[in-house]
Every structure is written in structure tokens, then in C-alpha cells.
Symmetry: C2
Subunit: 758 residues, 2 copies
Amino acid sequence: MSTATKTFEHVGTRPIRHDGLDKVTGRANYGADYALPGMLHGYVVRSPHAHARIVSIDTSAAEAMAGVKAVVTGSDIPKTNAKLVMGEAALDLGAMGDNALAHDKALYEGHAVAAVAATSPEIASAAAEAIRVVYEPLQPVMNVDQALAPDALILHDGMVTKGRPKPDAPTRTNVALRMELTRGDLDKGFAGADVVIERTFTTPMVHQGYIEPHACVARWGEDGQVVVWTSTQGHFVVRDCCAGILGIDAARIKVIPSEIGGGFGGKIPVYLEPVAIALARKAHRPVKLVMSREDVFRASGPTSGTKIRVKLGAKKDGSFVAASASLYYEAGAYAGSPAGAGAMCAIAAYDIPNFLVEAYDIVVNRPKVAAYRAPGAPAAAFAVESVVDEVARRLGKDPIELRLQNAVREGDQAAYGPEFGPIGLREVLEAARCHPHWKAPLVPQPGRKVGRGVACGFWFNAGLNSSATVSLSADGSANVVTGNPDIGGTRVAQALMVSEELGIPVERVRPIVADTDSIGYNDVTGGSRVCYATGMAVIEAARDAQAQLRARAAKIWDVPVEQVGWERGRAIALNGASGREPLTVSELAAKLMHTGGPIIGSATVNAPMAGPAFGAHICDLEVDEDTGVSRVVRYTVVQDVGKAVHPSYVEGQMQGGASQGIGWALNEEYVYDAEGHLQNPGFLDYRMPVASDLPMIDTVIIEVANPLHPYGVRGVGEVPIVPPLAAVANAMHDATRVRFTALPLSPPRVLAALKQRG
Amino acid sequence: MSTATKTFEHVGTRPIRHDGLDKVTGRANYGADYALPGMLHGYVVRSPHAHARIVSIDTSAAEAMAGVKAVVTGSDIPKTNAKLVMGEAALDLGAMGDNALAHDKALYEGHAVAAVAATSPEIASAAAEAIRVVYEPLQPVMNVDQALAPDALILHDGMVTKGRPKPDAPTRTNVALRMELTRGDLDKGFAGADVVIERTFTTPMVHQGYIEPHACVARWGEDGQVVVWTSTQGHFVVRDCCAGILGIDAARIKVIPSEIGGGFGGKIPVYLEPVAIALARKAHRPVKLVMSREDVFRASGPTSGTKIRVKLGAKKDGSFVAASASLYYEAGAYAGSPAGAGAMCAIAAYDIPNFLVEAYDIVVNRPKVAAYRAPGAPAAAFAVESVVDEVARRLGKDPIELRLQNAVREGDQAAYGPEFGPIGLREVLEAARCHPHWKAPLVPQPGRKVGRGVACGFWFNAGLNSSATVSLSADGSANVVTGNPDIGGTRVAQALMVSEELGIPVERVRPIVADTDSIGYNDVTGGSRVCYATGMAVIEAARDAQAQLRARAAKIWDVPVEQVGWERGRAIALNGASGREPLTVSELAAKLMHTGGPIIGSATVNAPMAGPAFGAHICDLEVDEDTGVSRVVRYTVVQDVGKAVHPSYVEGQMQGGASQGIGWALNEEYVYDAEGHLQNPGFLDYRMPVASDLPMIDTVIIEVANPLHPYGVRGVGEVPIVPPLAAVANAMHDATRVRFTALPLSPPRVLAALKQRG
């Protein structure tokens, strides 16, 4: 379904991505694929304690070992109060530096406390063993309840609750932030409700689970010039973070992005890079650092475990009248959970006259959380969409009808503030309602129960800053250069945009991800912003090139440029200049050097707003009530993407988000013991869904054009991870009549609940 | 001396070049420094005959060897008539392909006839030995006299003399081109002369002598995408040449330039690249090819050996009244000597009312010549400036005075066609005349003779096509991206231009040489065009960025952009907006993300004209008459460069050009035996001057601003190789009273001449 009126020639087709063959043949270079002459291998020493004061670190034995060229500790990372502003957010570089190498305390099991660089990985690891760290272990604070207990140990002395703390909040606290959204009169709202449902939900800390562990190589030149090769979602941010953390002029750091084997938000922060730079500076040689899978689980960006209370009131006719929600998010060791984003997304899909949503960002002795695909939203949606489901059942209403009845529409003020422009929630819900999946009978396999659930999800999508250049070659081909690592197929999407604007076949457009020295600033690949915001820069740069091409045609025809138009890759003569045969881009390109030289178009964008987007997922779940094992047997993702520039990769994003959400719903969780030791830091025990665990996920692309983007693009990557937690849990309820409020719906938990149900 | 009125803050300073430390510490990567996983090593089989028909090539034994993955011959390079247009010139891609791998005939000793790729260099070389080539040797044609002989063997059947062949020219010919420049009435001119000198000169074929041999790695992707890493003066031209030679779409080829260890024009053509691509395509693996020093001498671009007849007539008062010149240039195996450029430069320095200059491009069984620093001009200047010197002596005139008397000036029509704009020949000659060197007494060492010579030189300097982008970072630093390999310090020159326009310290400007996919088209680094033409693109791109910065300042001040000026790196408030404190580029940059996002400036130039430039050299030469050994004991280069952006590297170019010219004058030459076998393909026997052979070369920079360039730049790299051949020979005459008409002035030749003199 598409509301777009614009017709496209290239956009919307499905060519093979330019980086595809390199990636499937192993030719692409990832973070660990770089090597430099004389390069050393690093090894990071990590805390065995979840919470401990660092009394002393003796590196002398390690430093004395043959082949060891440098050892660094927290003392090599200056303490800083510097912040790095990214759109509305600000990265705390002090915390990021302390996370890279602890200064005073180890705040989670796996927290880096020292690192060594040596001539071989074996020597480096042996030297790491020889580093003597004396710890004073402290009681770990492992979850929000422990963190909020009156006698809780305080992770960071002097932490002050930012935002809008409650008046009676304690002064010594693990709460980094409290925020609040409110509208109307909550008491009056609930008083007018015929049905009120209130429940408290929990979701586990889960990891993004990217295939490629963090890896980088750093070179410190004797002239003070630093080069870093790394797998990242944003090399400009790596540059600026390393500069801020180490107190180096950012102008002296060049960051070259490798291909990236998954990120999902988890490759925005820096972990290894400042350490590798510090080691390289000491060793006078390049240093490579690569995380093991255990390191990735223990010390890189999971997303918050949460506890969320939701109360929703509705009238008999189904209209929502009041809602309240309290969201408690584990930040990990440093402030910065996505609690705020979770709160802003929680009831974004619904028009509710009275509400109060509050969110708490709470530090605990777990790894510092990083962004993970629609950060904060899936847990909030799990809670809210479970309660909406329950309201529908209580009122005997079709759950899609109930959502349609309360769905926000253009002109409504979003719960999180602004007024919605054209949005596609209703179109999405209507498409879900009409989908064969929603109408298909549920037929369980013998001995199994089967249920169907539905849920909605919302994400803002981000804008931010992007730069692009488009250069034309004399052979009529073109380059498009940006600075966003390609995670989800953005190279080919950008190439398609150039094709659309200039009429060049997409395989003759070369999309390039340039290093920090070779293109203007680009914010990270994240927030579903690249196809949207960087895409806008690409389109503008291509139009700049197109304007120059029209000027060349005017020169060839000897007419004013106003008499030259552009249509389907050709300069055409407008009134006054008619009778001239159109000139194709190839014809114009062949004449470039005789009409004024090469052509480069360039453009930058600063997109403070993006395209809010909604999805609805339908899940059929089959449960073996004897074992508690469940399996998704049919799954449909319906989503408004604004405009699908490359539908295959849009569908891939929708399927990927759903898959990750299903894993989160069914099996994934960080399992810690009471001392804060992670019990499952590997893919054997941390159970992510693999292809054989999932059915083919059906997708329905809805295109309600986003007026902020010339083609109507909204962004696609994040919305699809928002509904699955609730969709799966709602299907589980449909199958078992048990309302699960805690994830994951792993076999032991399901079995226990079924036993309790009887 | 400077006629420029503009004052500069950054341009004209002498910061360390950005690539300096990398290069002196060995960190920079040159052509042979690349390696890819699975890469094969190639070896080229070369003809032992200077002229031979290729009867058959049997590659079966080589192909059967373990470790051999591919063998290619001329049959893998399609024959083509394609041309690649470069400014006024056109590269003959058919000849370039036949030169890369011979199809039917071997045209010089060292001509590539086959190539092999194997898992090690040793296997590759053994396999090359196993390739059986059956030749039918032919009589080699080794110089212009042999080539023009009535019974000369014809190298290329069907060659037709292009240009303006003489009416009685034979139809079967080795003359590829004859061109002619004429003005006035030659007979009448000479009839009015009081002195007429006519002499015939020869210069040997010499090599550019770059330190780094040709080297490349090529990868042929199974998707047909080709990547080439290579040491080149122009990666865009490598791309387009390889595409044309192999019949591949240029849009599928990406060329990544390495650092370049010297080129001087000799790294413009492709030799190894098409062969490496053909091998990689057959082997399905990347292939590296590296020339040995012998290969470089035998099969890569020397410059023409020449035979030049010059006749000059002057009146008693010194004024030149008539000149004629016939220039015969060896092209090597394929058409394309710089005879035409030599003819255009020959008398460019002088205002002569009557002249006829003709030039012949003649094929011989020697390696195809390539460009070499001011191609064609040094030999022409050797002839003309020797005759001018003789006229001065005959008339008893000071040789600088005589030149000043006849020097061209602004408004004169150049002998080669256009009208001169502001030029610096008179300023150069006056500076030479005033220089202490010209007035210093000549004091020979005991047992030696000493003499002083002076000579002028001219070069057009080139414009052509360039692209540049300038991006600003939030930290107030900037990138400047172009596509010209940096041979002579152009990175720092470009960075200085950005500093000048934006007020950013040069060490915070990062100059990047981007690959063919990452920046718009750039013609080769050559013709002394980069600082001039690419520099113009850089200045324009910086001004584009500056205009955007002024718009940001206007936004911050809330005034119309017309009320914002720019001065010394700061936005200043103009009338109407006064009272506001200036905003520095750093202050503006820090606010970028809140005033509209990143900034990229971009620009392209198509500069059909450049800045004609002149130099005058003074040489003191000491000769040991017992041995014939001579030595330059003092040397001064005076040159109009328009504007020296980085005076140190401008001086370096002037010194480097003079050094190469001195080597050409004194010792360098290709020595062939009668069968066309090169006798001295190595630096032991091919005698180039090293530092200990030369005095410190003094330099005088003259700056007569070139009105075509915003800073007045003309270009510097080529002019300084033009005068030395004549300056040295004139000094030799001054010392010995022998007029040498043949170079080099090697000890045996000098000794023989002195014996003849008696």
C-alpha cells in the first residue's frame, strides 16, 4: 500500500547490493582483518569482580617479559568531564574512558583494568596473566530492585538524579535520571474507566548479538598523527570520542571504518580504540585489539533489563481514557539507559487524554548498556501492548480493532510532545487486519497448543547530520561518497537515489564509505537515519550535479539554463529551446572536459526531525505444554516505511528486527549468579534464534510518504524490533491462557507457569 | 622579486609537508607495498630482440608447472583503435596495449611478450623461463638517421605521416608526424642578418630515473569489479587506459594510488596494470607485478634521443632577425615523441620576426618514450641556447644582455601561437644579471679549466581538469580531498590554500589523495598543473565552504548574509551589522550542528590555459683537461613561478630539475649495441648524479603573478630541467673553447674533443 504520488524509475527496484559479493566471498575486510608492519597484539585484563575497589595494579612483571612493548592502566586515560553532543543526546566521555580502563573501581565483571601489547597474542595473554591487580571486593548491585533498596550500595559517590527527581528522593542514589511525561488528569481519567488493567513486567538484559566482535588497529605516529582502523557504526564519533577521552586534538586522528559485521547500536561506543591508541603511543608501534566472544558478552553494550508497571483504563466502547506507566531501566555501570526513549515510545501509538509516564535510569553492576535497535522501546511495548491485549480480551474486542479505535492520527499531539504529521499507523493496522494471516484458522500440531498474538510498535527515527558528494565520470558513471558505515544496505540505497536523480544505472554508481579525513562529517549509522538523512544529502548532492549538467546542456545548445529541464536522466529542451534532441547523462558526461571540466555535487543536511513510524506484527506460536518449548510457526510484519528505496533490504530489516525480537521474547537473557558473574557469555548458552528456529517471516511494506524527505523515506531498521516481545507474549497467552509478565518465555518459565495454571 | 600585490598569511610559509614523516620513516606505502590474501606474483617475459616478428608462443610447459595459475600473451589484450583524450593530446590505447603485451612484433629489447602468475616469485620466474617464444629477428632501426634512410625497415606497416608531411615524403615511412610553425619570410630574414650560425645537435635517449620501479596489484572480482593498487601519476588515467585497452567498462574499475617514488612524467602510461588485470582475471586471484630496475630501463618511458638543426640570424646590434630549426625526435617503438612540444618551446623565449620550425616524430626500435619533465623542451633548448650563446660570443655581447634584448614580453605573439599575458622572462634575466653568481670571478682549481654558461628555458605549464572538496569538522579543522598523487609537495600546497581561505592552521588541514571512486575526475599529476589547476579547485571549494560559514554567521547574528564579510579566518560584521564580535572559524565550526549541519565545499575546474613560465640558469663548470672529467662547481636557478605557495618545495623543484638536467648534460645516456641491446640498464652503468656529484644549487624565486590563478601561481616543476643542458654546454665551451653539439659531455667525449682541439 502506498500513498506516495511520486513515481520512480530506479528507487523501489531490487538490484544486488554493491558490497554483496565482497561480503559473501570473504573479500570484505572487517575490524580484525587489518594488519600493519610491526604491529603488536594487545590483550585486555578484565575484572573478575562485579564490584570492587581497585587497590593497586602491579605491571612490573608483565613489563619485564620479553616481547612485551607496553602496558597501560586507567592512569593512562585522563579523567575528564568532557561530553560529546550527538543531536539531543550527549555522550559522557569521562564514563566512556573509565569504562575503557577503570580508574578507581571495577564496576562489573569484565570491566577492563589494564591492557598489554606484545609481539604475539600468546605473549600478550601471558603478560596479562602476570599483571597483579589487588581488589577490595564490594557487594554487587545487580538489578533495579537492589539498586533502589534503601540500604543499597552506591556505585558512584556523588551521583545526583538528573531530570525531574521526586521531591522525596534520597540524596545518595543509584538513580541517574528520572523523567516524566504527563497530560490531563490521571485520577479523573481512571475514575471514568470501565476497565482498568494494571500489571508489572520485567524484561532481561539482552545483547545485540552481532556476529563480529569489536576489533581495531591503532597507529600512533611519531608526529602525533593517529590512525585507527575499526569496526564501528560511526567513525566520526570514534574520532571525537577518542580525542575527548585521551585529550588529543581530533584533527590529528583519522579513523578508517572497516566493514561491519553487525552493530544494532552496540558499535556506537568506543571500548578498545582509546586503549589501542594508548598502547600504540607507549609502544611506538601499531597495536591490534580484538575482543573474544566472552569479552563481547561481558563488557560490550547489552541493552537494559527492565521493570515496567503499566496501568491502562478504558471505557466499555473500547476508548482509552487513562494510562500510567513507571519504567525502571538498568543502565549498567554508568548512567545512560534508554529509559527516556522507552517512556516516550510507551504509549506513542495511542490517543489517551490522561496519562503519566515516568522513567528511571538506574546504575547497576552490569556492563554499561549501549543502544540496541529502537533503544528502550521493545520493553515498553512489551508492557503496554500486553495490557492493551488484556483490555481487548476483557472487553471482548478484536485486538486490532481496539488498536485502530485508539490509534493516533495526523494532527494528534504525540504523547512525547510534537504534533504528528502524516503517519501510517492506521494504514498498518488496516493492512494487518486484512492480511490472510490474521484470518487464517489456527490449527495446532497434535499434542501442541497454538495461539495468535498481535502488537504494535513505534519508533521516532532520527535525522542528525550527514554529508555527501556525487561526482560524475566522463564515461557517464558516478561516485557517491558518504561517511556512514553500511550495515543494512545503505550503499545500494544511496546509489539508487543517484540513479533516480541522474538517470544512471545503479551498477554504474559507485557508493563509497569514506574515512574521517575524506568526507564531511556524518553522524553515526543508527537511529534508522542513514537512508533518510544521509539519503537526503545524497539526493541534494545529485541534484547539485544535475543542475551542473543542465548548465552544460545549456552551453552545448547555446541557450539560457532556464530553458533546460531534466527528465529521466536526460537534459531536455524547454519552451524557447525546443527542437533540440534530449542529451542523456552519458552524452553530457562524454563532453564534460570540453564544456567546463569535471562535475562534483555536494550537500550536507542537518535533519533535526525524521519520520515517525509504526509497525504491527502478527505472531502464531505453538507450545508443547509437556516441555514448555514454544516455536513461532507463522509471523507477519506490517510496517510503514514511508518509501522503500530498496524493498529487499527493507524487508530484510523487517525480518531481522522481528527475529531479534522473537529471540528476546523466547530465549535470550543475561544469567548472572549472586556475585554478579555472568554464567552464559557465549552463543551456546546465550540462546539466539538461528534460521532453523524461525519460519519465513512475511512482510508487508506500507508506504505513507514522509513529507520531510523528498522521496517520503522514514527509516526502517528499528520499528520491527519493537512489537515482537508483546506479539509473542500475546500469542503465548492466546495459546495457554497464561499472561506472562516476565521474559524470556523460556521452556522452564513456561512449564512452571503452566504447572501453576494447572 | 614579486610583482604580486596580494598579501598572504599562510601561502608563502614553509610548514613541514603532511606526508613527510610517513615518507622518511618508511611508513608510507608505495606500489610494491600492497599485499592481498591469496595474492599471486607475476613475471613478465620480455623480448631479447630489438626487432622481431613473433612466430609463435608456446605456454603449455609453463602452464603445466605446479603453482602456476595463469599465463597471458598478446592474445589476451584485444587490438583496439581506441584513443583516450587528455586535454589537447590523445593517448593511443592500441599502442599502449601492444606495448603492454606485444601482438605480432617485438619492437624493442625488453618488449613484453607474455606474463605468468604463480604462487611465488620464484615459480613465476621459472615458469617464465619455460615459455617458448619463436622469433623471426629483423634488422633493428635504432636512431632517426637509420629510420629516415631510404631503405629503412618500416616498424609499423601502414604508418602514415600525420600533421603536415612534406609533399615529397615517402609513403612507406617511420615518420609518425611532421609539424611546422612559421612566421614572416625566412629567406628575407636571413638575408638581412649580419651573423648567421647554423649547427646540428644530438641528445641521447635518457631515463627519468625515478627511485621506485613500476609496481601494482590487481584484483578481478568474480562480479567483474576490478581494483588496481598502483604507483602512478594519475589513477583516473590508469582507470581509463585499462578500461580502453581491455575493453572493460571504466565504471567497473577502481584505481587506488599508492605513494609515488618519483615519476617525472614516466608514471603516466600504463605498463603492468593491464597485464596484472588480465592475469588476475584468468587466475581468479589477485596478482602483483613489480618491475626490476632492468625492466624499468629497458621497457619503461625514457625520453627521446634527438637530432636538432638550428640556424639563427642576428643583426650586429644583437637583434634576432630569422631562425630555422628542424627537430627529429625518437619516439621509441610507437608514435608519440614530444617533438611537437620541443618545436613549440624551441624559440618561445625570443621575439624573432621570421622563423620556420619543423618537428618530426620518428619510430625506432627502442622503448616507447614517455613524458619526462617539460617533455621535448630540454633538447630544443640545448640546441637553440647553444646557438644563442655562439651568436653572443660572435658579436661580443654579454649573453644575458643579448637574451634580454630579444626576450618576449607581455603582448607579444608567442612563436607557438597565443599572445603572451604577463610573463616573467625579463624579470628572470634581470635577476640573473644582478645575481652575485653572474659577477663572481671564475677561479679554477690548480690543473683545471673553469667556465661559466647561461641558458634560458620555457615551459607552457598545463591546466586541464581537477576536482576538490573541502569539509569542515566541528573542531575547526578541515579536510581537502583531491585526486592527484602528490609528487612534489602538492598536499601541503593545497592545505596552505585552505588555510589561506579559511584561516585554519595548516597542520589542522588534512590533505587527502582519494581513489577514483571517492572524488571527482582529476587529470594526471603532470604538466606542472596540480598546484595551479587543482589548486584553483581547492581554492574555489574552500571559498564555497567559506560562503557557507558566512551564512552560518549571518544566522547566528540574525542578519542578512550580505552583511557578513570574511577576513583572516573570521566572519566579520559589515555595515548594518556592526558591533558584533567577529566569529573565528573554530567558533563557527563548534556551532555547525546547531546552525544547519556539516559543511562541504566542492569545486571543479577545467583550465584550458595555464601560466607560461621562464627560467634562466647560471652554471660554473670545472674541467680536468687530462681526463675529460668535469664537475659543476656552482649553479644558480632563477625562475618565475608566479607565486610560490610553499617556497621550500618550489626551491626543491628548481633544484631537482636542475640536477636532472645536469645529469642529462654530463653523463646520462642509453648505450645500445648495433643489435639494439641496451648495455647499461642499471644505476651502476647509467650514471645519474647523486648528491655528492653536485654543489648546493642556489635558487631565486621570481613571482610575476599569473592572472589566470587567484594567487598568481604558474607551476614550477618543469621549467628547471629546460636550461641545464645548454647552460652546462655553454659553460663547457667557456672553459674549453670547444662547442659541443652532442651530449652527454662524458669524459671520453670531452677528452676526444680536447685532443681534436689540440
